[in-house]
Every structure is written in C-alpha cells, then in structure tokens.
C-alpha cells in the first residue's frame, strides 16, 4: 500500500491580478518518481516555489510527512525534508564544489557562533563529519575529481550534478528537481535518468518538472499536468497521455 508523503489541496496563489495557481491539489507517494508537466506559464515553477517555502500560498492545505507545512519558511521546509534544485542552476559560484555541498549540510549540523569561536572537540568533530559526508556525496553523483574547483568553472552537466549533490546533503525525503535535463544532450539525459533512479532507490522520493514529455513518460511513476494554474490531470503516464484535456492543452483543439 503506497504511503502518502506529500499532500496538497486547494492551493491558490495570486500575484496581484494574476491567479497563478487555482485550487491545485495533488499527492505524492513515498518512493515514487512524480512528474509535473504542462505548457510554459502553467505554474509549475510557481507550485515548486510554494512547496519549498519561497512563495506563501494564499489558501489551501499542505501536509508533508505528517507535518503541516502551509506557509512555512524555507528553512523549516528543508528541515522537514524537502530539498530542491533550480531551473537556472543557483550554485554558490565563488565557493568550491566541496564547499557548496558543505553548505547543504548546514541544516543537519548545529555548531553556532560560540562553537565556531571556541572550536572545541565537538565542533571539530562535526566539521570533519561535514567534510567527509560532502566528499561522499560528490562521489555519489560522480564529480569528486573536481572537488576543489570553483563552482562557476564547472561544465553545465557537472553543475547540475553539484546542485543535486548539494540538495542531497540536506538529507531530504523529497527531492524536487526543476527541469534538471534542460540543455542536456541525449547522453547526458540518460546519465541523469540513471542518477535519479539511483537516488530513488536510495529511498528519496522525487518530484520532477520537465519539458521532455517522452523522458517523463518513461521515467515517472505518476504525473500531474498543470495548465493555466489548474491541475487538469493526474495519474500514471499511460492514462495522462491519452487524456483529451492534456492533448488539448499541448496541441490545441483537434481539427475536424
């Protein structure tokens, strides 16, 4: 029996006159790869931002892993177990690759200012652990050879992997990826698919926005479709692909 990890209902988000999200509801089960598709401007990234605390929804409910995360701040959301990557990769460019991942460990460590200044054995041990875990994660995504490079010097594909490693450092239960395959060639996309399966098999649920519909159909266990801020379909790929509303949203009304 699939266990619900994340459930949202009736989510509304307005920006002045623009009704970006209308009554959106969906539920994601533990261990699945859940896809979010829809035409440009449908509200996918807006929904992402709501789920990760960057936008405050106007109405609705949002429960994650038994916790109420409605209108929670980003760091609370991350602490609860949701991590994300960004559509246009937001790395800490001037920091090294390793340091980027170490920042990801912030939420799971606790040395404060006093600990930093006194630098007792507990703090030093924690720093060592942060470093080791970060190196492990770099290895996990396959970029440990560039650990000391400045993040902005990395190739595009490596930057994407670094972003994923950094998010995994927060020990998420749900990893939300915003168009991770954007700008990738078929080979890189395959590598990405492998990585995502590996992450899912490691016990992390994945929420995925992508434009490559074929990729989504092949990869996702279930898919939701947004159009003009509303959810128009949700289900397994085969059903969604045949749903007339979905076809209309992408291709327009069929001509006679």
């Amino acid at each position: 029996m699939a266990q619900t990890l994340l459930k949202i209902e009736g989510i509304n988000k307005r920006f002045g006159g623009l009704h970006a999200l209308s009554n959106v509801g969906l539920s994601i089960n533990q261990g699945e790869i859940y896809g979010l598709i829809g035409p440009n401007g449908a509200g996918k990234t807006t929904l992402f931002n709501v789920l990760t605390g960057l936008y405050m929804p106007d109405e609705g409910t949002f429960v994650f892993d038994g916790q109420n995360l409605f209108r929670s701040k980003p760091h609370k959301v991350v602490a609860a177990g949701i991590a994300r990557t960004f559509q246009n990769i937001r790395l800490f460019g001037e920091m090294s690759v390793l340091e980027n991942v170490m920042v990801g460990r912030h939420i799971r460590s606790h040395a404060g200012a006093l600990g930093a200044v006194l630098r007792g054995p507990g703090t030093r041990a924690e720093e060592r652990a942060i470093r080791e875990k970060s190196l492990e994660l770099l290895d996990y995504v396959g970029i440990s050879d560039v650990a000391d490079e400045r993040a902005r010097n990395l190739s595009y594909g490596h930057q994407r992997r670094l972003e994923i490693a950094r998010s995994l450092a927060t020990e998420p239960k749900l990893l939300a990826l915003d168009e991770p395959a954007a700008g990738m060639n078929p080979r890189e996309t395959e590598d990405l698919k492998t990585l995502m399966s590996k992450v899912r098999d490691g016990g992390v649920t994945i929420l995925l926005i992508e434009h490559d519909v074929k990729l989504m159909m092949g990869l996702c266990d279930r898919i939701a479709v947004l159009d003009y801020g509303k959810k128009i379909a949700e289900g397994v790929p085969e059903e969604v692909r045949k749903n007339p509303k979905v076809i209309e949203a992408y291709l327009g009304v069929a001509h006679e």
Binding site: I107, A111, A116, V117, R119, R166
Partner: protein, 361 residues
C-alpha cells in the same frame, strides 16, 4: 623541506613577530615620542572596530553605514558606569561587558527591521540609525541629564587590572611602562583575540552560511539556512565587537562626546574594511592601519610642506586630509575595487564581474 623544518620556520616567524610586537611601544616611543604610541593604541582600537564591521559587511555582505553607533553605545555605557557622572565607579569587567551586551542589543534592534533590505537601501537606513543615535546622545541632557549632551562625559575611570591602574605609569623589573604602553598591551591582546574570533567564524558552519547568503540568498534559504537568524547574528557579533572597542576607548581617552561618533567615523571604518579587502582579515587589518596612520603622518607633514613650497597655508591640514580621503575612496574603487589586500576569492569575483559586464555591454 620536511614537516619539522616548516613548522620550525613558522614558529621562528611567529616568535619574531611576537618579540617585535612586544617591544614596539618602546621603539616607537623612543624614536617618535609617546604621542605616536598613543596613535598606535588608537590603531589597535580601529583594528577591532574594522574587524567587527568586517563581520557584517565582509562576511555577511550587509552594508552598514551606521556602525559607529555601537562604538558609541559601548563608550557611553562605560562612561556612565565608571565615572563621577552618576557616581558609579564599576570595575571594567562589569562596564565593558555590559557595554558590549548593550551594543549587541542595539545591533539586534537595528537588524530586525532591516532584514528585507539590501544594498543601497540598507546602507541608507543604517546611516539613519547611526544619526538617530548620535542626535539622541547629543540631546539627552534635558529634562533628565543622561548623556550630558554636547559636553559629553569626562573624568572617566581608567581600567584597573588587579590593583594596577592603566592610567598611571608602571615601574617593574627596572623598566618604566607609561600609561600608553600599558593600554597598548591590553589592546594588542584584545585585537589578537578579535582576529582569532574572526578567523574561526570565517572557517565555520556559520561562516559558510554567510558566504552562501552573500552569493545567493534565495539558494541559501533553500538549503535550509535560517536567513533571519544569521543576519541578526552578524549584526549582533559586529555590534558586540564595536561595543567592546567603545568601552576600551572611553577608559583610554577618559572622555566621550557625541562629536567622536558621527557619520564620518562610520564612513572611515567602512573605508577601512572596503579599501583594505572586504572579508579578508589581513586586508582589513591593513586597511585599519593605513587609514589611521596615514592621516596622522599627513597631519604632521602637510603644514610644513605647504609653508616650504608656497610660503603659506593654502589648505588647512584637516581640509587636506579629508579631501585626500575622499579622493582615495574614488580612486581605489576605480583602480582596485577589491581592496589593497583582497582574498583570492574576492579578487576573482571582481574580475569575473568585470568580464561578465564587458560581455553584456
């Protein structure tokens, strides 16, 4: 070279520096006179101030143009608690920590409303806060006399450590340590502690969080960093350092008045941080040293130089000093915006920014 020899080399350098620093007041005092030792003491105070502001501006990337206010709070707290003004003569280990805590509270008070502000707006608001504090210091002499207004508070107690007053000369081991030498050693120890504190903060979980905040606050928040808390922490820690330096200043100078805590002073400390090398502790120390010593040298040189060349004073020393300071700010930003001694990371940021702008333009 083996590990043993490298460590030995480092150790010898360290010992050499320690010895030089230990005899510095004597060398300066005998060659240039005790007034220059006093200047060295002020330099150490400014190093502490600049390093405090460095936490806010350099580490966390929060532009604060009213930093002198925390210096003022620390100084006035000490002045009120350890002088004839209220008849209290509390010892330094009460007045200075209280001043520091009080300053840290002000830091939180300043930080809380400005959490959403950035860049220019943050600069202006912090400037406003600094000015408000100064105006209050200047006017809180009626109806109840708290700060004694523009006249300030004088006859402040010097620091007494274990029965030894730093306000008087100390004769020990056949050597005479005038008051300015004693304060030098105290300030030196505290400066070193502030440097160590800064370095440890920089290379810690908190330090990384501040860099992340500086680079991309949204990504930082999405990585679980509590933005509000680390911003407030930066303000509080910076204010704390400022407050300690303020208390030391009050005991050293023996006198405080609102004049010492104006906008120019805030700008001066900001200049020390930015021109020295924002976020880079050695650079900030260098900035503090250069911007304290150079004007003093100028002051001694500019009068006579004009008399010799022109036969009269065209520009009074204070005017010239400020003019050159303003020019220095402009020229440095145009020629070497990363500062005199930036960290490699920061220097790289600037070259990258220039390259990006050139490509866009």
């Amino acid at each position: 070279m083996t590990m043993a020899t490298t460590t030995r080399k480092k150790l010898s350098w360290f010992l050499l520096c320690a010895v030089l620093l230990a005899v510095l007041p004597f060398m300066v005092g005998h060659v240039l006179g005790n007034s220059w030792v006093r200047i060295v003491d002020f330099t150490l105070l400014y190093i502490m101030l600049a390093l405090g502001l460095n936490i806010v501006v350099g580490f966390a990337g929060l532009l604060d143009m009213g930093f002198i206010a925390f210096y003022a709070v620390g100084a006035y707290t000490y002045a009120l608690l350890s002088s004839p003004h209220f008849g209290l003569h509390l010892p330094f280990y009460v007045s200075i920590p209280l001043g520091a805590i009080f300053a840290a509270c002000f830091g939180l008070m300043l930080g809380t409303p400005v959490l959403r502000l950035k860049g220019d707006y943050l600069a202006i608001v912090t400037l406003g806060f600094g000015e408000i504090i100064r105006i209050f210091m200047n006017n809180l002499n009626a109806p109840v006399n708290i700060t004694n207004g523009p006249q300030g508070i004088n006859l402040i107690d010097p620091i007494q450590i274990g029965g030894v007053s730093l306000g008087e000369s100390l004769h020990v081991l056949g050597l005479t340590f005038p008051s300015v030498y004693l304060y030098y050693y105290l300030f030196l120890v505290l400066s070193v502690l502030v440097v160590i504190m800064g370095m440890r903060l920089q290379h810690s979980r908190i330090g990384r969080a501040w860099v992340a905040l500086r680079e991309d606050d949204i990504a930082a928040a999405s990585m679980g960093i509590n933005i509000r808390n680390i911003k407030l922490l930066a303000f509080a820690l910076g204010a704390l350092s400022g407050g300690v330096a303020g208390g030391l200043f009050a005991s050293f100078q023996g006198f405080v008045s609102p004049e010492s805590f104006g906008l120019m002073e805030s700008i001066m400390i900001l200049a020390m941080v930015v021109l020295g090398g924002m976020g880079h502790i050695p650079g900030v120390v260098l900035g503090a040293i250069v911007l304290t010593i150079a004007p003093e040298i100028l002051r001694d040189v500019i009068g006579p130089l004009q008399m010799e060349t022109f036969g009269r004073m065209i520009v009074d020393p204070e005017n010239a000093r400020q003019l050159l300071f303003g020019l220095a700010l402009v020229v440095m930003m145009l020629v070497r915006p990363a500062g005199m001694w930036p960290s490699r990371r920061r220097a790289a940021e600037f070259t990258d920014a220039k390259r990006d702008a050139a490509q866009k333009g």
